[in-house]
């Protein structure tokens, strides 16, 4: 034991010797290097953004937003793509919020500390780490063929639900964990049941954290391409799904769930993979739309987080 310890010390001394004696110089060199790295990373990424915006901005206009894909790159647009994205995200948001928040509540407030809980946590960690395309393969054989949903909006929405579930679960759990124990104890001591504590206190207090998670999850789902390619989503869709609202009773119509669809990233992929330069311009324009959406969603999540952190640090419950 002591030998190992001595060896460790010796190793440290050797390493110390390698670093020269001039300590402030070391620090300054490291500082210089890391500032260069920072500028390098941000510089490259912003240069790439600049290129994308430069190439696609001219193409981005109302005609582009409200035209269907076409063989003529000048006339092609992303109408069916953004409508499809919105409908898919609608399905994903509804399903993933219900399942995700309930799982988070269960794991934080109900789950006993046993092997079953451990397995659920391991499964969630794995869902977060499994390649997104494997969700697509699962969806292809389970949703598309076994359950016969087809290559529809419903299939896509459910696939993306599985994909973003861990994000919402983790956000819900962290948000619940940040509520002080004293609140739970106070409400329990007044005679509330566990369900009442959750419904009337924990959920309202953790709402901002859950909301942040949901926004991040939506931002992830909007940009996700691979699993939707795997389920065989068509890339050339020159029509809109059936409208979810109608004038006659019962006013809502769920046929759109089973319609074929395309989404923004798939449309973008379709245009990138063509050799003609003009389609690349369309891809760049679609990329700008995607960038704007994901950046705005991320900013929104950060603003919510920042606002509530300030609010709660002041009035500390």
């Amino acid at each position: 034991m002591s030998l190992v310890f001595l060896f460790e010390i010796e190793k440290c001394e050797v390493l110390m010797g390698i670093f020269s004696a001039n300590k402030s110089l070391q620090d300054r060199i490291f500082l210089g290097v890391s500032v260069v790295v920072l500028i390098f990373v941000l510089g490259i990424i912003f240069a790439l953004f600049g290129g994308l915006i430069n190439q696609g901005l001219d193409r981005l206009n109302w005609d582009f937003m409200f035209s269907f894909p076409s063989r003529n790159p000048q006339k092609a647009g992303i109408y069916s793509a953004w409508v499809g994205s919105i409908l898919v995200i609608l399905v994903t948001a509804i399903c993933s919020v219900i399942i995700g928040v309930i799982t988070g509540l269960y794991l934080e407030e109900y789950a006993p500390k046993n092997w079953m809980t451990q397995i659920i946590e391991l499964a969630i960690a794995n869902m977060a780490g499994v390649p997104s395309i494997t969700f697509g393969l699962l969806a292809l054989s389970f949703f598309v063929i076994r359950l016969d949903f087809g290559e529809s909006i419903l299939t896509a929405g459910l696939t993306l639900t599985l994909l973003v579930l861990p994000i919402i679960i983790v956000a819900t759990r962290e948000s619940l964990r940040s509520i002080p124990l004293s609140i739970r104890e106070a409400v329990y001591s007044l005679g509330a049941s566990r369900y009442q504590v959750i419904r009337d206190h924990l959920l309202p207090y953790s709402l901002h954290g859950i909301l942040t998670g949901v926004i991040l999850a939506i931002s992830r789902a909007i940009g996700e391409t691979a699993p939707l390619i795997a389920i065989g989503a068509l890339t050339f869709i020159a029509f809109l799904p059936q409208p979810p609202l109608e004038e006659q009773f019962p006013f809502v119509n769920f046929d759109w769930l089973f319609d074929n669809f395309t989404v923004l990233p798939i449309q973008m992929y379709n245009w990138i993979s063509r050799p003609q330069e003009k389609f690349h311009v369309n891809a760049a324009a679609t990329g700008i739309v995607l960038l704007i959406i994901t950046t705005l969603l991320n900013l929104m999540a950060q603003i919510i987080r920042f606002y509530f952190r300030k609010k709660y640090s002041r009035q500390s419950f």
Binding site: Q26, G51, N126, M127, T134, L137, Y195, A226, I272
Partner: protein
Amino acid sequence: MRQSSNKLSISHQLKRLIEHRKITERWVTTLFFGVSLTSIITIFLIAFTLFAESIPFFEQVSFFEFLTAPEWTPLFENPKFGIMPLVAATLTTTWIAIVVATLLGVTLACFLSEFASPWLRETIKPILEILAGIPTIVYGYFALIYVTPFLQTFIKDLPGFNMLSAGLVMGLMITPYLTSLIEDALSSVGPELREGSLALGASRVETIFLVLLPQIKSSLIASLILAVSRALGETMIVTIAAGSMAALSWNPLTPGQTLTAFIAQISLGDSPHGSLSYQAMYAVGFVLFVMTLILNVISFFIRNRKV
């Protein structure tokens, strides 16, 4: 008389209320537990589906040939199914991405956590978070349209599709993610170690490399494993930028098809349900799933052992 009956009825009502609450409580607990099983069911379904769908494939192609043969030509007249070319391309793009992301990520994380002023940190971290949220398809566009032509100015005979460009951009994509993981780990180290080290006369750089990084060793390894599993599973960048030619090559300057890119290629084409290449897609998916599953489980236990 009246009072006592009143009391009776109140206690009766209370009893009913408590009974009612117990029933609600039991139902809610069961319901919540049932919904929580979604994650287990999903993982189980993925494993089962990939396994079951690739069984017909292994009835026609021997498992040994699948793992060792050096050719992957599923769409040819006389198809060959050796997964080595796909694995080689996957590992090549992954190591390039991981080298880039580790070098940039560790430096940035140390800088943000140990050198940057709070103001700078609070400015850069949101930017990194936004960068981590950018769709990978956009990064794929960068790799194909900008990075490859840029690299071609240095390397004369670089093909239009190559693993180098895909790997580099993938590294750039993972960097913000890895940076925030390492930065979180660094900021979870208490001030005692930092101050102790500085008080003993170590410079800040020495404190980082001899005290802080060894201290967060386990979360550092767990973060790296997460980054590796992310790189293995990344699809769009490699599909767009590395091409769709499966040739056994470890040279980053050549085109290559990764495991994920093959799955994308088959699902984009019209391979009918039940054909051999369709089944090969599931076999490849199964290999990919097992690789990342092992990495994820290791990372999970490293992280939990620390706590």
